[in-house]
């Protein structure tokens, strides 16, 4: 594993981040947007792990951080899905374009 250069892994992480960003901006379905957010979070996780591995191989701080983020992402997904279900109950739709009541 040590023969994979850092730049490769960072490239994967960056790509993942922008794919997630693209999905977040272009999808109208809120569940898809949630998935895009998960992609962004995971790109960050890869970053943490890879820098931990290459900069401080004897320590585990980056890996712990990743585990935290995974946990929080799970909780966040639960909250987000609760919001989506409530939105569906009130608007009969999970399209963000339909939920534009909160404007001027």
């Amino acid at each position: 594993m040590s023969d994979i250069p850092v730049s490769h892994i960072l490239f994967v992480s960056t790509a993942l981040f922008f794919i997630g960003m693209y999905g977040l901006f272009t999808r109208r379905n809120m569940i898809t947007m949630l998935m895009a957010i998960e992609l962004i979070l995971n790109s960050v996780n890869i970053n943490f792990v890879v820098f931990n591995k290459y900069l401080y191989p004897e320590k585990l701080d980056g890996i712990f951080f990743t585990i935290f983020i995974v946990t929080i992402a799970a909780a966040e997904a639960a909250v987000a899905i609760a919001i989506i279900i409530n939105l569906y109950r009130s608007h009969k739709s999970i399209d963000v374009e339909d939920a534009t009541d909160m404007k001027y």
Partner: protein, 643 residues
């Protein structure tokens, strides 16, 4: 002896009546309200008589003078170690005397109103207002410091406003109550300034300390207040004149008297209480309270004398021409208070010089009885004929014998005929004036003749003149209306025989009351002359008064129009103040002040209109702004901003 156990009850009992009747009166005891309030006041009256007895006879003098006792003192608002506002009860001869007068007259009015106001829809409200007024007036007379007296002063004004405007369905009553309130408020502005000047230089609010500080010639406070001056007049004079302005407003002195005749719109017993016996003498009381300070400043005393003597004569002349009986009495009150004022003005401090002070207080005392008797008598008459106008009356002596006799006694008393109360007090005032200034004496003498004339003009017009109308009269009134008349008539006779100088004098020492027969002849002769003239003109219905009025021409017309003072005020306020100050101020307010505010509001509105479309409600737009912002920050911090 300890007064503190019960003294606070005297003002608090009427307050309790006010709270009880004001909160629950109309709902629960609209019919028994009168009895309840009267009982409360009866207890207060008994207590104040007991206080007077304790003060004058049991405790008596220390050395040879009556002391000023602080019966209660409660530190209310503390600003610093030296400056605090207290609430206290101070007993000295004048406040004890006023306690008796106020509670007694108020009790009489309460009893009288039982009959007079019977069947009123707002009976309980009326009694609660009476309670509030009595409470404020009692608080005023026992005040131990300037700030407390100012508070009660305003409370008295407010309760007077409520009572004048009691018949609020009548537009004239509403206008009168507003007028009374505004005019006295205007005067109170002067009072407040005076308080501030005196308290600032006297370095205290407490009466005794102020008097101590400002009358000691060597004290630093005295030197400070006499050396400070504004447009050539010393701060002491300014302070005293300003305080006197407040007193003149409340006491309806010329030229702040215009509210008093209009205040007669209130129920008649109220006029007897407020506008004859108690509230209107508050100004005299105030000057008397600060008299040691007044007495060292001749300028202020001269102002008091001039205003007093002008009011006395001026009001007496107007009273001769009025046809509304309550207005005659109102002007007569103003004239008598003028008497008290100039008596204070010509007085000196201590010993024989203090005669004017004693005379003023004596006249205040006797005047309270006979003037409230006159008003209550007028109330009984109005109750019978349902009119205030003299022309609707006449020949009532057979219909209402008790009112007739008591009214006659009061008229004799106010005209200064021996042996009625007014004779003694007026004689003392004239003597004090004679000792000081001939001009004042002559005017006072003239006024006393006029007083006799207009009072008997009133008397003959009501009770003699023509025969009574035969239309259905419902008798003289209930027992509760006759009893106060009888009691007050007894007081009007007896009050004169009290050796007043023994109890009340400027320095607390007894002042021997002398009686000079030769001196008493002139006012007595003038008084009898006035009565005879009135009898000749008004005893039977004839056209002599009419012819006399025509022959006097302009003077009569001017007097019957009250010397156009009201018109003058209207001219000054409506034409000058409104046009020269009010309108420009309104223009500035409307265009500049409001304009500034409006343009700020318009600019904000315009700006928010421009940017409101940013808030589209679309989550993805917000995301875009968010990431755009982060990207911009990243660019700035990495490439542009380099410390």
């Amino acid at each position: 002896m300890n007064y503190s156990s019960y003294i606070a009850l005297i003002p608090l009992l009427p307050l309790a009546a006010f709270v009880l009747l004001g909160l629950f009166g109309r709902k629960y005891f609209n019919r028994s309200a009168g009895i309840i309030a009267t009982l409360f006041l009866l207890i207060a009256t008994v207590l104040s008589l007991y206080t007077a007895y304790q003060y004058f006879f049991v405790n008596g003098k220390v050395g040879d003078a009556y002391q000023s006792i602080t019966a209660l003192n409660y530190t209310w608002l503390t600003f610093s170690e030296n400056v605090s506002i207290d609430m206290g009860i101070m007993l000295d001869p004048i406040s004890v005397m006023m306690l008796v007068v106020v509670t007694f007259v108020s009790l009489m009015v309460h009893i009288f109103s039982l009959g007079y106001m019977k069947g009123e829809e707002r009976f309980a409200t009326y009694y609660s207002f009476l309670g509030l007024f009595t409470f404020s007036m009692l608080g005023l007379v026992v005040s131990s410091n300037l700030f407390q007296i100012y508070m009660f002063w305003e409370l008295v004004g407010a309760s007077s406003y409520l009572l004048i405007g009691y018949y609020f369905q009548k537009p004239s009553a509403v206008a009168a109550s507003k007028k009374a309130f505004i005019v006295t408020r205007f005067a109170d502005l002067g009072f407040l300034i005076g308080i501030l000047i005196l308290a600032f230089y006297g370095e205290s609010l407490d009466f005794n300390t102020i008097i101590q500080n400002l009358t000691t010639q060597q004290s630093s406070q005295f030197l400070a207040i006499t050396s400070a001056s504004f447009i050539g007049i010393s701060a002491l004079t300014w302070g005293l004149v300003m305080v006197f302005m407040g007193g003149a407003g409340k006491s309806a002195m010329f030229p702040l008297h215009i509210w008093l005749p209009d205040a007669m719109e209130g129920p008649t017993p109220v006029s007897a209480l407020i506008h004859a016996a108690t509230m209107v003498v508050a100004g005299v009381f105030l000057v008397a309270r600060l008299f040691p300070v007044f007495s060292i400043n001749t300028d202020a005393l001269t102002v008091v004398t001039i205003i007093g003597v002008t009011s006395a004569l001026f009001a007496a002349i107007i009273a001769c021409t009025q046809t509304d009986i309550k207005r005659v009495l109102a002007y007569s009150t103003m004239s008598q208070i003028g008497y008290m004022m100039f008596a204070l003005g010509v007085s000196g401090y201590s010993g024989e010089n203090g005669l004017g002070y004693t005379a003023a207080m004596f006249h205040l005392f006797t005047h309270a009885f006979f003037k409230s008797l006159l008003f209550l008598g007028a109330g009984a008459v109005i109750h019978l004929v349902h009119s205030n106008e003299m022309k609707d009356m006449g020949g009532l002596r057979k219909l209402m014998p008790i009112t007739h006799i008591s009214f006659l006694i009061a008229c004799l008393a106010i005209a200064g005929i021996w042996p009625f109360a007014g004779f003694f007090s007026k004689e003392e005032i004239l003597l004090a004036a004679y000792n000081k200034s001939m001009v004042v004496y002559v005017i006072a003498l003239l006024t006393s003749g006029l007083t006799a004339f207009y009072m008997f003009r009133l008397y003959f017009s009501i009770f003699w003149n023509k025969e009574a109308d035969a239309h259905d009269h419902h008798g003289e009134g209930t027992f509760s209306m006759k009893l106060p008349l009888i009691l007050l008539a007894v007081c009007s006779i007896a009050a004169g025989f009290i050796h007043f100088g023994e109890y009340v004098s400027s320095d607390g020492k007894a002042l021997p009351s002398e009686f000079h027969l030769s001196f008493a002849l002139a006012p007595l002769a003038l008084g009898i002359g006035g009565i005879l003239l009135a009898m000749w003109l008004y005893k039977t219905a004839n056209d002599k008064p009419q012819r006399l009025a025509t022959s006097l021409g302009g003077l009569y017309k001017a007097a019957s129009k009250k010397f156009y003072i009201d018109e003058l005020y209207l001219f000054i306020t409506k034409k000058l103040v409104f046009n020269l100050i009010g309108r420009p101020a309104a223009w500035i307010d409307k265009n500049i002040v409001d304009g500034l505010m409006n343009s700020i509001a318009a600019a904000t509105g315009w700006l928010s209109n421009l940017i409101k479309s940013l808030q589209s409600g679309k989550v993805q737009n917000y995301l875009l702004y968010f990431f755009g912002g982060i990207a911009a920050l990243v660019i700035i911090f990495i490439y542009i901003w380099k410390p």
